[in-house]
Symmetry: D3
Subunit: 321 residues, 6 copies
Amino acid sequence: MKPFPYLQKANTSFTDREVTKIGDLMKEWDGETIRGVGLIGAHLSKSSISHSGACFAPGTIRKALSGYSTYSVEENIDLANWIIQDLGDISMHITDVIQSQNRIYETVQQLLKEHSSWLPVVLGGDNSITYPSIKGFKEAKGEVGVLQFDAHHDVRNLEDGGPSNGTPFRSLLETKTIKGTNLVQVGIRDFSNSKPYHDYVNKHGVTVYTMKDVRQASMKELMESSLKKLEQSVDSIYVSVDMDVIDQAQAPGCPAIGPGGMDAVDLFEAISYLGEHPMVKGLEIVEVDPTVDFRDMTSRVAAHVILNFLKGKQRGGLTFD
Amino acid sequence: MKPFPYLQKANTSFTDREVTKIGDLMKEWDGETIRGVGLIGAHLSKSSISHSGACFAPGTIRKALSGYSTYSVEENIDLANWIIQDLGDISMHITDVIQSQNRIYETVQQLLKEHSSWLPVVLGGDNSITYPSIKGFKEAKGEVGVLQFDAHHDVRNLEDGGPSNGTPFRSLLETKTIKGTNLVQVGIRDFSNSKPYHDYVNKHGVTVYTMKDVRQASMKELMESSLKKLEQSVDSIYVSVDMDVIDQAQAPGCPAIGPGGMDAVDLFEAISYLGEHPMVKGLEIVEVDPTVDFRDMTSRVAAHVILNFLKGKQRGGLTFD
Amino acid sequence: MKPFPYLQKANTSFTDREVTKIGDLMKEWDGETIRGVGLIGAHLSKSSISHSGACFAPGTIRKALSGYSTYSVEENIDLANWIIQDLGDISMHITDVIQSQNRIYETVQQLLKEHSSWLPVVLGGDNSITYPSIKGFKEAKGEVGVLQFDAHHDVRNLEDGGPSNGTPFRSLLETKTIKGTNLVQVGIRDFSNSKPYHDYVNKHGVTVYTMKDVRQASMKELMESSLKKLEQSVDSIYVSVDMDVIDQAQAPGCPAIGPGGMDAVDLFEAISYLGEHPMVKGLEIVEVDPTVDFRDMTSRVAAHVILNFLKGKQRGGLTFD
Amino acid sequence: MKPFPYLQKANTSFTDREVTKIGDLMKEWDGETIRGVGLIGAHLSKSSISHSGACFAPGTIRKALSGYSTYSVEENIDLANWIIQDLGDISMHITDVIQSQNRIYETVQQLLKEHSSWLPVVLGGDNSITYPSIKGFKEAKGEVGVLQFDAHHDVRNLEDGGPSNGTPFRSLLETKTIKGTNLVQVGIRDFSNSKPYHDYVNKHGVTVYTMKDVRQASMKELMESSLKKLEQSVDSIYVSVDMDVIDQAQAPGCPAIGPGGMDAVDLFEAISYLGEHPMVKGLEIVEVDPTVDFRDMTSRVAAHVILNFLKGKQRGGLTFD
Amino acid sequence: MKPFPYLQKANTSFTDREVTKIGDLMKEWDGETIRGVGLIGAHLSKSSISHSGACFAPGTIRKALSGYSTYSVEENIDLANWIIQDLGDISMHITDVIQSQNRIYETVQQLLKEHSSWLPVVLGGDNSITYPSIKGFKEAKGEVGVLQFDAHHDVRNLEDGGPSNGTPFRSLLETKTIKGTNLVQVGIRDFSNSKPYHDYVNKHGVTVYTMKDVRQASMKELMESSLKKLEQSVDSIYVSVDMDVIDQAQAPGCPAIGPGGMDAVDLFEAISYLGEHPMVKGLEIVEVDPTVDFRDMTSRVAAHVILNFLKGKQRGGLTFD
Amino acid sequence: MKPFPYLQKANTSFTDREVTKIGDLMKEWDGETIRGVGLIGAHLSKSSISHSGACFAPGTIRKALSGYSTYSVEENIDLANWIIQDLGDISMHITDVIQSQNRIYETVQQLLKEHSSWLPVVLGGDNSITYPSIKGFKEAKGEVGVLQFDAHHDVRNLEDGGPSNGTPFRSLLETKTIKGTNLVQVGIRDFSNSKPYHDYVNKHGVTVYTMKDVRQASMKELMESSLKKLEQSVDSIYVSVDMDVIDQAQAPGCPAIGPGGMDAVDLFEAISYLGEHPMVKGLEIVEVDPTVDFRDMTSRVAAHVILNFLKGKQRGGLTFD
């Protein structure tokens, strides 16, 4: 018998016995084998060109995610059998940004080498985490293809400062961590990129789908042809979502918001489609700044990106039986 | 001659002699016969599982509604001849939620019995008001069909607490107030419902249109087939709108917001289509929380739901000549 | 050698040597010849029926505009060669609204007469500036056709007060500054206009496209037929954008927001299409109230309206070589 | 018997049978004799130099006031027998500020002439209403002394624009509506006034108490000596409260907030002391802008100013028996 | 050796090895003996007359408290040896307010009976929790004296609804849980209480210190005489802090804010003085609503109330050696 | 004759010919000799332990400052003859915090060496700028005494990270840039500092005045004795104001707000008293974060700190004749 029947842990929320929430599947990692998706926070945003509170996003995304049901009513898929490891956050140095980026690299590569069945879901942080994260991913996974959802090319020069949230794909290309021909940028937006940088990615053979392309084609077609191309030339695929790819009305909490962006449902469909592919082995979400968001709307969108990634993986055959 | 030409009632707003506003049609009810639509507030939200200020929505929706013109420029329909009775609010008990719900039931059923030509527009409040409101409606109107616009099934078990804003359709089905086969749920959203509850509504023969269905079919088709089915088996139809069926970008002031929801224009079209049908005799709007809204955007959407209901009714032949 | 290498002007923002921003093209006007687009602020909103902070919009729109890149990645058009003159603001009288409106008229007409190659981009302020601005425009440019993007007809009677933000097109028509047959209103919204005013514009032969028309036709068709008609009967065309034509989710910072409005991308396409036409020689943006906006979202939309106007002009052959 | 026991007027708030609220004493004026205090709104703020929403203050102050109890527990004084007439608002012209100011003048003077027992409590609006209000007051009441609580002298020149919220006391002095020697300014703040204007009021013989004076003397002494002086030379006294006299921490909702201001309790004590004096026959509160306030804190302070005025009057012998 | 040197638990905050924080002393209760202060949450606010989010205060107060240092630099007292048990929250029923109140009563009395050395710090919730909490306290501790810091008497009649946040002291007096002569109310505010309720507490022999008393006496004197009186007639003393006793500028996050309130430093001094007394064995903090607060300022004040209580206790000889 | 009489520079604000504002005295520095006070921005806050937008404070403080009148009505002192040089901002590196701190050091020391009559007013930024700024100051000015207004000792160890906003005085003491006996800390607050750090400053002979000391003594006495001590042992004095020394109600925009802080008027009196002293040759203001402030209240307080510094200097004989 419970001695004090009404005492409960502080901040306990309502529980319905007939509802399984993602939060029920999430477990603090115990260091043992990781199967399937595991969350890891890279709460770095001192590397941003403009003031950014993206360092708080791992917390708000986890919170949003844990409140959703495990059940996709649209496709009759239930994730209730999953175990989602929460590996925690990579600790950041207070003042040394470069060291913080190195910690991301070292942690991701070491973890992936020791836990090859881990499908990392990296929660930024700003876009600068992409370079160390993919560098670590590549060392464990071989040649990497990247599907980048982003309003921006993010190939700024490093002479004017950085490595910052404007430079990750420059670093990846210059260091030959990835080849330009293995990079697909989706959602590149008008008046948000300079001509020299557009020329730069073209020169490197990057596949670029602008928002005009997204409006005129179906998302499924774009993903299909992207995967078809990448599966010939890479060992594994990493999906990078800069949340500012979404229209400002639907994702108001990104540092660089603007009109003319992608519809969230299109992104969800792209992600579940990609998740289904067995070569897609990593996901990151960056540039969510909860301090300027409205009612955590942008973190809720981020949570649905993860949910659709999980749905795709289960559709693709990943099981926990 | 007016003695003090510039003195006016406090808080008077600007009047344009060539504009008829809905507010000009609204009259505090005098207890006499009610023809057509009459507003009634059910400002209960202490019954919500999570903290909710939906109790303030009757005020903000009335205010938004009263500022709109009576004229539909899109269809050249003018409601300027209507009289919209405002029956006021059902008083709520400060601490006894069950009694508050009973007051809703008793008031709605007694009013409908004595004023059979009243078309109630019930302004919640949270979704818990749906059970007593429809129970009262049913006792006056016979077998009831329900068109429910909602992201959620709202059939939670009552063992874990309630009757709450999560349980109204469970109560309606368990008490056989309505039959599952006479319930249509539109806008049910991914990862916002559990599998057991989806199985529950399926078992009861509820018609369910998920957001995927909404995206793939035309709203008119869904409404047409829903009405066709209901008109065979019920005496009258009640339309229940949980505003969280709308996407969070367009209705940011609901307690349970999220991405991937319905477009407001689709809802308006559905409502005016339904309003046109003579068997549709009641409308409720719930789950608008003005305390977390942005610029009363969600109450403005709610007002347009009512406007489209009125437009449908006039299209359907309801006149005040 | 720079004596203090790290000292910079206060509030300097980050500069990337490979990015040309619109701000880099903007120059305080020196009184010399103006080629192409020049910005001018008409920060009047004491003329608004309801409380409005639209007087702050010239500042926020300039700021948003100056941060965007000059490059349209969607159409591979770079505006980097433009010079955008900033003529400054028209000073407003503190208490005399009529005089303020006259100052707009006098300044616009005098400037246009002396600088015939100037393509004015007038930054309101509220919609009352439209009457003096177009009146000035007309005196310099001959018969004027107007493409008005607006949720409202804006032809209120003047007996009930004004000239206000509700009366500009009434004044233009009554004073025969423009002919009704040379006015096209796009985006007129349900329940936001009275029948008498709709009858009024019909009587004057105004072309009206409601939001229903916008949803059912392509924007390009509407613009094509509008231009075809106007180019027969006018000497030059002025584009007036009341930002409340856009849906409240995408332009939350207008005084008279509501659901059921235009999609921003549709507006951008219309504007660039119009800008391409050589007879289109003026643009104004009104009814952006930054004091009730969220993260300057509405000013960002306004900036994209201007960007698309510039893109259209360049597509139409305007060059700075 | 009440037919529908739970139906109540919309927006009814909780009633406790043992609590008399100020709202219970407030009555819409029926045109009959006014005894004692009567509220009148002068919701003008288009006359402000900077953007101001002070036009909304009559509404928020009334709302705050009506919620307070009638009972002063500190002095065991109950106002429960009062009748507080609400005369409504003076209608403002949409665009003609000067006419709006004239309406205030005409309405106040005519009302006071016909209702000599009325003690006006004028709810601004901005400080520009002070000139027409006192001008009207003077015509009915003879030579006027003014106790002005304000951070600013408000004697700006009119060449640079106006009459605005910066000029009322300039107008009063220049038109000889009041004599400088009959004006007492309390709370004048450092670095918020220019030397020329300080010299101007000195030249006119105005009594000036800066915040330093307020900090160093007791408020009671300042009031005592002010009244002693005025009662020799005037027929009646008008108290003008610009709420920005209060420190920004306690009255954050004034347009011109700043640190180093008066403590609200000191103001309350001054007001009740003044109210007690039989020659004090009018009160105004200006420069409360609810659109920039936090939780109507400043309107709550304004309500307490009125409450203390009423308390003073009752202490002074005004009764309703 | 740590395998992944940079991995840390999610949401870990910065740690300085030379700083002991209260959070370092807080431990989730293991059911064993409780020495000294233990926190318990009573997150009930559905019992409030007006809409209240006070149910969230246990969370925000705990968070604010845990971030403060253990060291009082003003008195050179370090609490670093304390262990502060966190007993968690008392679970609330979703819809049955009376049952929720009973759960508070039952949990507090049972805990106190079994853990007599526990000094409860009860975190509300609204003021309705005071009745069940003190009732439970009394059953374990004998005759109770109460020091109540409050702007309001809180003795509303129960006929008009409740038990609510307006009735707790009525219930305590009517049920003779406490005697009126053993109740001291400090900070009772002008125009915030009705005469009948003031008469009621006088009739019961309650000691009342209004804000005028607080301004005119020293807080120490008031506390001294209060304790002197209570120590003669009671077995133990309970301190109840309704945070709205503080001025609205310093505690803006209470439902019933207003000007003319207590200075926070005066309250802190009172609390540490009371804490020092061995008969003071319980503390509660109620009416903090984080949903309407600014930057958790009111929860920070609440945390300092607890800190001063701890300081007083240590000064009074409570040690953990 | 002005060709376009109503055209003015964008964003021009209202000008009154009889008011001299501080903004009228401020001039962008031309590199020539600096007499008296000159502003310099050190907009660094990536060095903060917790997320901070203090990098925006130079902008908001300049803006607040420029709007105030030059005239102290309290002391009849007019600063209208001053010239206040604005030296601009020290450019910060995007990602290299240490280099940013070095830039502050190098710029301050080089400027002071070349412009010995410059009285620097350094606008932070967070408190980490104090170390490089005072280090630069010292190299030009000899032995430095520091008056630090702060709630915190700011002597954190550097092993746990930094140099951060928690470590500046540790760095100053450890590097012997200043002697502990030449440091006076005023406003140190309860439960906001650890015992080890309090012991540390005691060990170094720092003079510490806690808030209890401030409440019990007069500010003038504390300043008098501080200056008396410092003038014996140093060559020049630097005043450092961490705005969190002020109570959270009056300075709500600091990262580390809390109750129990200093009154702003006390700080102003201290600053003008210090400014009067000829050895006081530098001032800095840090830890104002405009992104979490309310209506720039904290920047307004900062502006008054500077105004009082100027007033003191003029009182002390600094003239511009």
